[in-house]
Each structure stands twice: as C-alpha cells, then as structure tokens.
C-alpha cells in the first residue's frame, strides 16, 4: 500500500476530529482572529469609501457612489502632487544619507580599541531613540527657533542667516532638517545590527591580514566591509521598500500652514483631510491613504523580491 503523499499530523485528520482533539488550541486562535478581522480586515474593505462621497449618516452602503472622482481631484489639484514630491524627496534623503549614517557609526565603533569608551558611546547614542516624538520635535523647534542654540551656532560659525529654520519654506531646508533629525534619533539604535554583524566577521581573517602588514584602515575596507556587504545590501533594499510607509508622523508636530509647500507629505495630507480640524473630507483622505497603501505594498513586495534574488534573504 504505497501512498504517493504521506499526510502527517493535523492534515491527516478531519476538521471535526481535529476540533474534538485540540479544541482548546482552536479556541486560543479566537482572540487574534477577532482582532485581525475587526481592526485589519474590515478597514481593508472600508477603502470603498474612497470611491464614495462618504457621509457618516448614510454609511458605506448608502453614501453616493462617485467612482474615481476623489482620485481625479487629488491628481489634478496642486496640494497632493506637492505632497507626493515632498514625500519622495524626504524618502530618498532618508534612504541614502539616513541609511549610511548608522553604518559609518558602526564602522567607527568597530575601530575603537577601548571597550569601555565604545560601550559608553553606544549607550549614550541609544538615548534619543527612546525619547518621545512630541519631546524630540519640541526640542528641535526650540533649538532651531530664531534665538535657539543651534540657530545661533549656524549663524555665528557658518554665517547662515538668523531665522526660525522651521518657518523656512525654501526647497531643501525642511527636507534636510527632517532627515538630520531622523539621523539624530536613530543613528545609535540603527547601528546595532551592523555592530553585531561586524563582530561576527572572523578574527582569523583580521589576524592573517595583520600579519601580512595590513593597517587597520586597509583591513576595514578589505575585510570588514566586504564581509558585511551582503547584509548592507539586504537592509538597503528593505529600507527602500519601507521608506515611504513610515516615519512621516513627526512632520505633524513640526510643520505649519506657511511651510506646507515643502513639508506636507502624503501621510500628513491624509491626516489633515480627516482629523486636521476645519472641514473634514473623509473620502478624500481615504483616497489619499489608499494611494499610499498601494504604492507602499508594491514597493515592499518589489524590494523583497529583489532582496531574495540578490542577497538570498528576504523579509518574508
């Protein structure tokens, strides 16, 4: 009696037998199923409101159907296109400068001989990661205000014009400040992965190179970097995939109507249409949110596929 396919465990039994046997485990699935259905899957179907003139009284089923009207509104208006431009600009800056910063920091740490100094520096650099966004943003607002310490530093040492930097609506200013703020918050915490990867590089390689007369810097570029390169590549690809999805919420705490032209992003636009005070336009907000979700999903799936092909490892 040779069977072509051997079924094992749960797959062999019928649903009824399974349930009788392990009903407790099946009950343990209940909370997460309810949680996921209500808080994740219902909203997924709720995106149909992006195609309606949604009003709270009529609900999903009776609000007038308008098709792609809101998307046409979004892409023919100026505000949303501006938001897309800003999102892409900030995303690119963070995926490049913001991505390289923790790697450089980790490499510098790896070259430091004093264990105590290294550990202390690491601990100190982690701290900004644990400070609440509200506090970080209010600190930066104060430091970059007209007579803030950082503004004074920029004015007195670099000769920049004395100004409230967050009120500046010139093109790259806000983008750069926001990127640098992200680096300040994340450089220490982001370096952990790289520090761990560097510490796993075989000591034998370093030893052999040192005996052959390679200096520390030579070993850094010829041994350490090539060894962690696959991991850097993987992180980079994943980073691109998630760049547009998260990390724009702090802008809500920093921008003001006079700087919308440089600071407004798709995320903040979505938020403002629904919860920003003033007139709410739920459907327009849902349309903009849906656009963001779809683009992010495409980027994530695409970058994951690239990562799997090139680096041999992937997020999922």
């Amino acid at each position: 009696m040779a069977r072509t396919k051997e079924l094992t465990g749960s797959a062999r039994r019928s649903w009824k037998a399974e349930f009788r046997r392990d009903w407790v485990v099946y009950m343990l699935f209940l909370p997460i199923i309810i949680y996921e259905v209500v808080l994740h899957y219902l909203p997924m179907f709720g995106v149909i409101m992006a195609f309606e003139d949604y009003n709270v009284v009529d609900g999903y089923f009776h609000s007038p159907w308008v098709g792609f009207k809101h998307f046409i509104d979004l892409f023919t208006g100026e505000d949303f296109l501006q938001a897309i431009r800003n999102t892409v600009a900030i995303g690119l800056l963070r995926a490049t400068i913001g991505f390289i910063a923790p790697i450089i920091f980790a490499l510098m740490l790896s070259l430091i001989n004093s264990k105590k100094f290294k550990r202390t520096a690491q601990t100190m650099s982690y701290m900004p990661n644990f400070v609440a966004a509200v506090i970080v943003c209010s600190l930066f607002t104060q430091f970059l205000a007209k007579d803030g310490p950082l503004t004074l530093l920029l004015t007195n040492i670099f000769g920049a014009e004395n100004q409230n930097w967050f009120a500046n609506d010139q093109v790259p200013v806000f983008w750069i400040i926001y990127t640098l703020m992200g680096i300040w918050q994340g450089v220490g915490w982001g370096s952990i992965m790289y520090v761990a990867a560097i510490s796993q590089v075989s000591g034998d390689l370093h030893e052999a190179a040192a005996i052959d007369g390679a200096t520390r810097l030579q070993r850094l570029f010829k041994i350490t970097l090539p060894n962690i390169f696959p991991m850097i590549m993987m992180m980079f690809v994943i980073n691109i995939g998630t760049a547009l999805a998260a990390g724009y919420d702090n802008i809500l705490l920093l921008y003001m109507p006079s700087t919308y032209n440089v600071a407004d992003t798709v995320f903040t636009y979505t938020y403002r249409q629904a919860f920003g005070g003033g007139a709410t336009n739920y459907s327009l907000s849902a349309a903009s949110g849906l656009f963001q979700s779809v683009v992010c999903t495409i980027l994530l799936v695409g970058s994951n596929a690239i990562s799997r092909k090139t680096a041999g490892s992937s997020l999922f």
């Binding site: 199923i33 179907f45 709720g46 430091i112 509200v134 796993q200 075989s202 705490l253």
Partner: protein, 303 residues
Amino acid sequence: MARKQRKKQEWENNMVETKSVADIVVDVILYICVGLVALCSVVPMWHVLMSSFSDGKSLLSHVGLVLWPVGGFTLEGYGMIFQNSSIVGGYINTIIYTIAFTVIGFLLSSVTGYALSRDTKLKKPVTMALMITMLFGGGMVPTYMVIRALGWVGTPWALVIPGCTNSMYCIMMMNAFNSIPKEMYEASHIDGAGHLSTLFEITLPQAMNMGSVIILNLAIGQWNSWMQAAIYVPNRKALWPLQLVIRQITSENADFLNSSNPNYSRYLIQFAVIIAAIAPIIIAFPFFQDKMEKGVIQGGVKG
C-alpha cells in the same frame, strides 16, 4: 560566535603591532567623531534637565544652551507640575494606558504565538492572514470608521486595543515557542497538563527572552505615543495621555512667548514636565538595554 569573539580579543590584546603616526592620527579622529555623536545624543536632554532646575525669569532671557542652572538652582518647576491638574491627570492616564496596552498586547501575542506553534489546521491560514496585514492596510480613515462603529471613539479602548499586537510580535512569539524542545510539551501532556497550563505555567516562562523584548517594545511605544490620542480622544482632555498634554503646553508656549507679558512659570514647567516624562525610561534604560539590543539583532536575523 562567542569563541570567535574571544579569539579575536585575545589576539588583539597580544598583538605586537607598533602604532605608526598615521595610526595615532586615525585614533584621535575616531575618538573625537564617536565622542561627538555620543555627546550630541545627550546634550539636548542635559539642556532640558538643567533648564528645569533654573529660575523661570532668568531662563526666559537666557540665550543659547543651558549647561548649568540659570539664576540659581530651584525645584520650582517640579513644584508647579503637581499644581497642574492636567499634567498630573495626563501622567496617571499614561501609566494606566501603558499597563493596559502592554498586558493586553502581550497576552494576545503569546496566546497567538502558542496557538501558531502547535500543529493545527488553522496554522497556515492564520499565518497567511497575519502576513497579508503586514503588506497592506486599510489606512487611517477606514480604521477610524471601524473604531467609531465599535463606539470606541472618545473612550480609552481606542488607545489600548488597536495596535496592541501585530504580525511581527505574534510570529516572534511563535518562534519562541517553537524553539522550546518538543519533549517539554510531551512531558507536560503526559503529566496531564492541558494546553492552557502548558502555555502559561510551563512554556511561557521559557519563552520570556523573546517575551520581555515584546513587553518592553509595547510599553515604551505606548508611553511615547501621542497620535492615537490625537485622533481618537482630541476633545476629551480628561483622557489625554501625558504626551498630548506636553504637546499642548509646548505649542501654546511658542505663541505666548511672543506676547508682551509672558508668564515665566509656564515656560519653566515645560522643561520640568519633559523631564518627568522621559525620566522613567532613562532610569530603567540600563536594565533593559541588553535585552532590547538582543531583540533588535534577533528580529533582524530572523526577519
């Protein structure tokens, strides 16, 4: 890995490489750069700490970094915190939300992780369903509408249930339960323990390495969060968490400092309240630093 590291350390210590001038220059530059990064990370906090000990009036006229209390050391700012009912209320709310959010989120993640680690017919479809939510979400407004339909808008439920777990935490817990030896489950089964006692009494304590990372992430995330509250309880100040109170104080200050007769105490109080808000995390930080670091490394490796 530990052996390799030991070996690397050994030869580094025994190394008879003589340092050239170039090496020393590189060293000096390195120490300065790394030192600067470390310093920049804590100076803003130091500025706030010292400002909170300062005299409000002199602080307002002070320009530049505050590296030492201005106008004499006082605890005036902290005294004012206790007289401000919205700050005290916000602090209590934040503590309640953090505890509730963490307990609910951790229970949900571990129960799900356990269920996923057992051999059942639901294992594959539920894992699949969890993966999909990592890829695509309905977005801000559709989620708001669901929570509104549940009647949670304007109540604390909207702050402690949504987001208390996610696919990553569930799958991390599943991995933790999977890595416990099969014999452990068999033994507890033979001893007559049901799934519930196997989960809570026998395997969960062994999965706490991963569990504590999740607990820390949940607690810190909720302690620092402000946007959920800004979306779901914007008009009910009695329910505001501390972060929202801070946001209001600092943004109001920005306007009213420009007025002709600014109130010094309100300027001072913002520094004291910021310190009060980050103190619990900074004080606890040395104790959980190693755990969180390991969590980042494991999370990245397993993905």
